[in-house]
Amino acid sequence: MRAIPAVALLLASLACHAETPQQIRQIYVAEATSQQAGFTPSAKRGDAFFRQRFAINDKMPACISCHTDSPLNAGEHAVTGKSIKPLAVAANPNRLSDPAKVEKWFGRNCKEVVGRACTPAEKADFVTFLSEVR
């Protein structure tokens, strides 16, 4: 319960300007911690999530359907063929710099590929994976 005002504060302070991947990770970690005490984000779990086959969507059964098996690579939209810049911060420094953009794409892609909203813990793990992968 004590974590909620902290999350709100963080979100408010992060809303207006460009952020670092660490700050974006912190938003999700705080949110996950408020649901599950002692939560620690894990790049390894984020990596596994990236590769998991959800099989909800025929054309995009997993993240890797469009983003290839490495977030360091450029991907390609499975339906339209449009190229997609790498997700990993190491390969694309523009990633994880805008909290609203990150939320927007979690919102869309989780619904479409995972078949539900992603949990704060999953988002924290995924963001950790993308900021650390080399």
């Binding site: 054309k59 939209h77 339906v79 339209t80 063929g81 449009k82 869309r108």
Partner: protein, 153 residues
């Protein structure tokens, strides 16, 4: 001699002009960012205004994807698309949901393309203009620039 040269120049310029659909210079930033993440930002002239309106009203299920935008952005993009939309008589109806590939203009322009090319892995989807028209995003759909060699001319 000069006149001949002028005629030759004009003659070579016109076919190209017919296949140019430049992006209006005043495209709002929201249009570019929202509409070009999954496909190229299609030029407003590719659909008539009524079809853009229909399309913008159905972004929650945009060909199987959630492409919703907030209300302010939606209004901004919608107004831009409708202001620069193609004329109904030139483009034709796009069906429901509206598809650029269902307009009479698109069908007429592509009627010589054998079906196997639409299934070619290099093409993937008729929505992938750039597979054949490398400068589609810049509004160039000239037949001379087709990137799949077998389809040139």
């Amino acid at each position: 001699m000069k006149r001949l040269l002028l005629i030759a120049l004009l003659g070579s310029a016109f076919p190209a002009l017919a296949d140019r659909l430049p992006m209006p210079a005043n495209a709002p930033a929201s249009f570019t960012t929202e509409c070009s993440s999954c496909h190229i930002a299609y030029q407003p002239a590719l659909l008539q205004a009524a079809d853009w309106r229909k399309l913008m009203a159905g972004l929650g299920d945009h060909f199987g994807s959630d492409a919703t935008v907030d209300q302010k952005t939606g209004q901004e993009i919608g107004a831009f698309l409708e202001r620069h939309a193609g004329s109904a008589s030139r483009v034709g109806n796009a069906g429901n949901p509206p598809r650029i590939t269902q307009t009479a203009r698109f069908i007429r322009k592509h009627d010589e393309i054998p079906a196997k090319y639409w299934r070619d892995p290099r093409v993937k989807s008729a929505a992938n203009c750039e597979a054949c028209h490398p400068d589609a995003a810049k509004g160039s759909y000239s037949e001379h620039d087709i990137s799949i060699r077998e389809l040139r001319e």
